[in-house]
Symmetry: C2
Subunit: 347 residues, 2 copies
């Protein structure tokens, strides 16, 4: 655990020093059985003395790399971010990097602290998973020439750094079109903050689908939120209290959809019998909801994998064919939507 | 990003070299405004040339430390583990360590790979968050003299390494006693795998509460599961199909409780009107369920904090007053339990 450079031995040097085969050394290094306790102890003693560095670690060191990739995200919440992390870890398993994780909690001071620590302690590269503005971080990383990829939906149409996201507009269109295909004509939508491009993209997809179906957009059915459960709860009550309430609600993300479920539960309105609900993201708990949520899937694991592969190529000094990538969204049909029925028929 | 030791400058050395005050250097390092573009560029140039290492990073290096803490967990799922991670990160923010995260997915080969990488790349210390057997990892860490703390519920009554968990037996007792206090007499319980001590602890708490209330334990009401949603679904159907079904269900964790919710939704049984449900853990989504879940809270953030503080003390070479700590569970009353009512009264 010393950072002063110790004399590093190869496996065969250790084998020679102990007087065993490299296979035996390998077994001890890999925690495999089949080596006597005494031999194991002798090998471990030599390893401890010389701080054996295994090949890929040595490779990182030779290249002047740390073997570390840093992922920075807004908060550890178990939705969108976890899916991405799955993909990141899967890819790093092969590359031999460790993943350092940091949550900023939308606190600028904390963000700066993280950046400083990053520059101090060094990193091979950074995955930025911050949905809101983070021009300052991106600029700092650019200045410090630290390779990075921004994941998720950017707030700028074009950037001077690599980004990866998914086809949000198409997702908004698909969700709305699906509800229309079931026969819904009054569809409420709960959006994210409308100053964000990604919120506007969902809404634009919704409008497009309605317009193609020849249904006028009713502004009363559009409720702005902030991607939180509370929006779903509050805006559902607003929608239910309209003179002519919707028969379906399209939530901007699955967290909002949980709020929609709670409000409907409180009012004793059954899903999907009396109200259809569709979400956006397909996070870990979406399939666990009662009833399981139909939603627009962002390919989170794939986004995480691809972002990591892009980053590893940047670290290796390669150029990317495309620096702004969008993977395709798709609909996951579960049990929260069905055709609308007249209130008179409901139990 | 080179690991060869560069000449490191202090802030005042940088200030002298550029001909500015240390305050100005500090502003640039901390990404603060108030420095002209040209001065900023000059300072950054010097920093880049000399790879300025900020104090706490330098402190780690002087001590031969990496500035890295490794957290290993079973899978990234957004329940129990995320709460712990919150606490870990909050504590590390102060200590200046970065957190490397790794999920084993219960795969032994992957576990070994991680361990090897850990030994190769070095770490200051490890937080083990693996609910099942992991004697091999613990022993390897002991052998390699890497400081570590095991978090969560151990499967052995005593260990030769530091552990931190919560009062599971008491939690089982509290949940059952709460349902009894509401007037329930037939209470179903869905457990974890009964070869695990922590599953048996919940069940023992359940038995204790019933016995104290003078209610005989009915084996038909005890269903074994594996802490997954599917158990909740399947075992709820089993309980509902009993000649005399329970009026309340105690789920072994909140993931199982989501399965209970789904099964009840399918059978059109309203919570809490026609069935009370109580969970265990209080994970991020428990309050988001419809209706919000009453559950036994494990103090996850506090456990994460305390484990990290224990580890930091071990890293600093200090001894711990107590090496096996349990923090107190408590009940979080939300909206999923109420007094049982006769079926005749239900709507």
């Amino acid at each position: 655990m010393e950072l002063e450079q110790p004399k590093r031995l190869t496996m065969s040097e250790i084998a020679r020093e102990v007087g065993v085969s490299t296979t035996t050394v390998s077994k001890v290094l890999n925690q495999l059985p089949g080596v006597g306790a005494q031999t194991r102890a002798r090998i471990q003693h030599v390893i401890e003395q010389h701080e054996y560095v295994q090949n890929h670690a040595a490779r990182h060191l030779r290249k002047g790399q740390t073997g570390l990739i840093d992922l920075v995200l807004m908060r550890l919440e178990g939705g969108y971010d976890l899916g991405i992390m799955h993909g990141v870890q899967e890819t790093l398993m092969e590359s031999g990097h460790r993943l350092a994780v940091f949550a900023t909690h939308e606190n600028e001071v904390v963000e700066r602290l993280w950046l400083r620590r990053l520059f101090d302690q060094s990193t091979d590269g950074v995955l930025l998973l911050l949905p809101y503005e983070h021009g300052e971080i991106a600029n700092s990383l650019l200045q410090q020439k630290i390779p990075f990829v921004a994941i998720g939906d950017r707030n700028e149409p074009a950037t001077n750094f690599p980004t990866i996201g998914s086809t949000i507009w198409l997702g908004g269109y698909t969700a709305t079109e699906y509800l229309l295909s079931l026969g819904h004509r009054r569809i409420g939508i709960i959006t994210g903050p409308l100053h964000l491009m990604t919120s506007r993209a969902r809404l634009a997809g919704y409008r497009e689908a309605l317009e193609r179906a020849g249904i006028p957009v009713d502004p009363a059915l559009i409720c702005e939120g902030t991607y939180l459960l509370g929006d779903g709860l509050k805006q559902t009550y607003t929608l239910l209290d309209l003179p002519e309430p919707p028969t379906a609600i399209f939530a901007g993300n699955d967290a909002q959809a949980t709020g929609v479920y709670q409000a409907l539960y409180q009012r004793n309105i059954r899903i999907p019998d009396d109200m259809s609900v569709i979400g956006f993201d397909d996070v870990t708990y979406s399939a666990q909801m009662a009833p399981p949520l139909t939603t627009i899937r962002q390919p989170l694991v794939e986004i995480g994998k691809m972002a990591t592969n892009m980053l590893l190529r940047l670290i290796a000094g390669q150029t990317l064919e495309s620096t702004n990538v969008e993977l395709s969204t798709s609909i996951v049909i579960r049990q929260s939507c069905q055709s609308p029925r007249s209130k008179a028929l409901s139990t």
